[in-house]
């Protein structure tokens, strides 16, 4: 069982769904307030979606200065797993833990609907229970979802296999190289614009997002036993 810290900023609104999704995957998930500086021995940290600080100045720009971000950065530097979902992705970019930035959607509208994405990199802590090239349906809900990076950075992301998810069929926000999610060079810090926590059970219309959270537990199983484990009755591929 992995200890998963879900950071709550003023304005986070996907924190409860994220906590539930991590718990449904079998993790010992708990909240950490943004003013806390102790991650309580977290194995993984998740920055959830929402509108931290009202998206003032730029999405994620103020949250980056919350006290908890120092602990998150130290955790990331030590190789600990970090996932930023939507606003969490924006915060990780603003904090310099991921390259690039997220800008206003190309057609300006706030978009809230399911999209198709392809898993491009199953070699991260949050994607290792997926197959490379697997296509998923995940919901997006963002106004500032257009990932941008200069040509040099984008080429580096492609060369190193740091594009983790890519939009297929249509690019909803105009992102560079159809990018929906990336990881850092160390592959332990991951950002995704769609919301896997909103698609982790049949009652939510599908469970394509569940394995983002199950991947953490699968890694745990590999590290500790190297065998198959069942979480909530579901056998994990390890």
């Amino acid at each position: 069982m992995q200890r998963v810290a879900v950071v709550v900023f003023p304005g986070s609104n996907c924190d409860a769904d994220t906590l539930d999704a991590a718990r449904a995957a079998g993790s010992d998930a708990y909240y950490v307030w943004h003013r806390d500086t102790d991650l309580q021995q977290a194995d993984a940290v998740i920055l959830p979606g929402g509108f931290s600080y009202g998206d003032y100045l730029r999405s994620g720009a103020i949250a980056r200065f919350s006290p908890v971000l120092r602990a998150v950065a130290a955790h990331a530097r030590a190789g600990g797993a970090v996932l930023g979902i939507c606003n969490g992705f924006q915060i990780l970019c603003e904090a310099g833990l991921l390259p690039g930035a997220l800008m206003r959607n190309a057609r300006l509208k706030f978009l809230s609907r399911p999209v198709r994405v392809r898993v491009e990199a199953p070699d991260t802590p949050f994607t290792q229970s997926y197959d490379r090239g697997e296509e998923l349906t995940l919901p997006i809900a963002h106004g500032d979802g257009r990932y941008v990076a200069d040509a040099e950075t984008a080429a580096m992301l492609e060369a190193n296999g740091q594009v983790v998810w890519r939009y297929v069929a249509e690019n909803p926000n105009g992102s560079t190289h159809d990018i929906a999610g990336i990881c850092n060079a160390g592959r332990n810090v991951v950002g995704i614009m769609p919301h896997p926590e909103r698609r982790n059970a049949p009652v939510l219309g599908g469970q394509d997002g569940a394995r983002v959270f199950l991947s953490l537990e699968a890694r745990n199983a590999t590290q500790h036993a190297g065998d198959m484990r069942a979480v909530d009755g579901r056998h994990l591929r390890v």
Binding site: M103, R146, G174
Partner: protein, 83 residues
């Protein structure tokens, strides 16, 4: 120490798509301003601060921009200082 006013202009980098500016451009053209060739939209911040010299105020404002007020990946900025 003197009080300075620093006006900071933050603009989306010229090479990047500026959908907000484009939307305003289209609205102006729809209003009949056919002569409008392009619009770019940015932010204007006014910072009141204490500093010993104008140069110190400008230098501090640039650090503020680098660290918070502008995103170095997507935006450029200009600062002008007045007493």
């Amino acid at each position: 120490m003197s009080a300075f006013t620093v006006e900071i202009r933050v603009m989306p980098r010229a090479s990047l798509l500026d959908p907000q500016g484009q939307a305003v451009q289209h609205a102006l053209q729809a209003l009949g301003f056919a002569e409008v060739a392009s619009v770019r939209a940015g932010k204007h911040l006014v910072v009141q601060m204490q500093a010993i010299t104008r140069e110190e105020a400008a230098a501090k404002a640039r650090v503020m921009c680098d660290r918070l007020l502008a995103n170095p990946v997507t935006e450029d900025y200009e600062c002008s200082v007045s007493l």
